[in-house]
Symmetry: C2
Subunit: 300 residues, 2 copies
DNA sequence: CTCGTGTTTCTTATGTACAAAAAACTTCTA
DNA sequence: TAGAAGTTTTTTGTACATAAGAAACACGAG
């Protein structure tokens, strides 16, 4: 049976919306709600029905209104609002990075399915779409081999990353002055400065900023293959940030300063300055990543 | 139910093997056969059993021997020996390139399943693994959008291809003189010359040679992401060669000459010469490909 | 006529079943 | 006792069923 994580997430979102209404306020139309919650009307109607059963919403058809008098309505637990695909990915990355599996090991679908408490179909679909990240490989005879988050994986990743990023940075610095991306860049620069000034407390916000910055650089002249590769970078860094907490504040502070130098180089539109700043930043990012790989596939 | 295309292909291969034996010759051991046919012993036993039923093989257990006296045994039809995944890929590429579907169109799994005469599971699995080629894209809400073999697809493809190939060519020309790859390269050079001399009749053999040559260049310093990208190139060219027969002989002749110049540049180990020859070849390959794209997704 | 809800139809996601093929284990024989 | 065949156990590929969610259609009120 298809999971209803979508409904549950949307329901929780809807609860937040209604909590802002006062008693007797009219409920927006189904179409409006659908747009606001980012789901279809079918799901909205299910939410409305549930909300009515719980007494948060009264009325029917075209005349529905909020009922603030109703007691506390429990939202669905956070865990039940996460799409299966995301849960599986998370569990898989954890399984791999925690060192439960060594590079070269065979992946057993049924095993994983049991371990992750999902049907084999889900694992199979996951492995298929996860293949593109280069961490696993299909065997000709069927089945999968774990490649793992190894030293060579990180090296190969960064070789491509440098190629792509240098290309995009070059394109970016050649953008006409009228391009709206310059404004975006200045705004990001400002965000970097702000983050730097509050680095002691907000250093964990860097992960997101990092991703947005590099994504912006790649927007100059889009290329679907570069975009696709970027997804790999994003995935790796996402989990890397979660698991490697060592010297996190220091690392992020260094990276922010490198970003600023890189941004200034872009703004100066000097090709050589851009290349230098870009290379410097990537070299240090690579160092960081490589330190947390190992050839047994586990986080050192 | 799982298909038995593997069995059928192996059975046909086994028929060929036994046809070379004379009456009364002993049949190799199951393990040997398994290795020769590239399948498991389980499949070999099934083949042996069938072969015995048909009278081509007599005896049992450790004493089996060929029976040339048996009448003609019909091999399974070619079509039944092709793995489902390959069939689906072929049909899908045809569907897309023939222009049955326009770029931006939604892909309907059930529809395709009916059209290709397979279960929806197969289509779903195919789409999932096919995503990496960049010709289709998953919608956030589920379902797939056809991106199609468009002009911009070809341009983006070649932008990356040039980056990768230049990088690999550079690495190749820096290989130590002792590397066995130089010998491989010289052998390929010879093959090119031979093909050129018989171009009138053998021009269709170029497709394979092309792929082998570029793959060799990329072998210098392997990178899994470049290898993965190469699969895309291979897929595109495979189908391109099949469908675009216009000026095929001329195009291939030009390409062979370009390859030879490129190979000679590599052998000369001059960086600038390599870059020039490589760029020239890629530029003409791009031209060829772009001419057969169109923004409606069909072959012009 | 337009926007909104009620209703129906289509499509996709996920669980389950079962045969093909691989792999592991056991037994036999030269 | 090593290698070969026999047997059993695992694992994967494919089909099919069903519920969630999206989309299309229908109808009514203002």
């Amino acid at each position: 049976m298809k999971t209803d994580t979508l409904f549950k997430r949307a329901f929780n979102d809807a609860l937040l919306l209604t909590s802002r209404l006062r008693d007797g306020d009219p409920i927006p139309s189904e179409t409006t709600l659908a747009a606001e919650l980012g789901v279809s009307r079918t799901t909205v109607r299910k939410i409305l029905q549930t909300l009515t059963e719980q007494g948060v919403v009264a009325g029917a058809g075209r005349s529905r209104f909020a009922r603030a008098s109703a007691g506390e309505v429990q939202p669905f637990p956070e865990a039940e609002t996460v799409p299966t695909s995301v849960q599986v990915e998370k569990q898989f990355m954890e399984w791999m990075l925690r060192g439960d599996a060594k590079a070269g090991a065979l992946i057993n679908e049924l095993d994983l399915a049991r371990q992750f408490k999902v049907a084999t179909t889900v694992i199979r679909e996951f492995l298929n779409s996860f293949q593109r990240f280069g961490l696993i490989e299909r065997r000709p005879s069927g089945g999968w081999v774990l490649q793992g988050f190894t030293h060579s994986f990180a090296l190969e990743l960064f070789e491509i990353r440098e190629m792509f990023e240098l290309r995009s940075a070059r394109e970016f610095s050649s953008l006409p002055g009228t391009s709206p991306l310059w404004h975006e860049l200045r705004r990001l620069r400002q965000e970097h400065i702000e983050l730097l000034s509050e680095i002691e407390t907000r250093f964990q916000d860097f992960s997101d900023l990092d991703s947005r910055f590099h994504r912006l650089v790649n927007t100059a002249v889009p290329n679907r293959f570069i975009d696709g590769f970027f997804d790999i970078i994003t995935l790796i860094f996402h989990y890397h940030y979660q698991w490697n907490k060592k010297d996190e504040r220091e690392r992020n502070e260094v990276a922010i300063r490198e970003h600023l130098a890189y941004i200034d180089a872009l703004l100066s539109r000097s090709r050589s300055a851009v290349a230098t700043a870009c290379r410097r930043h990537l070299a240090s990012a690579r160092q960081t990543l490589i330190r947390s790989t190992s050839d047994t596939g586990s986080v050192a």
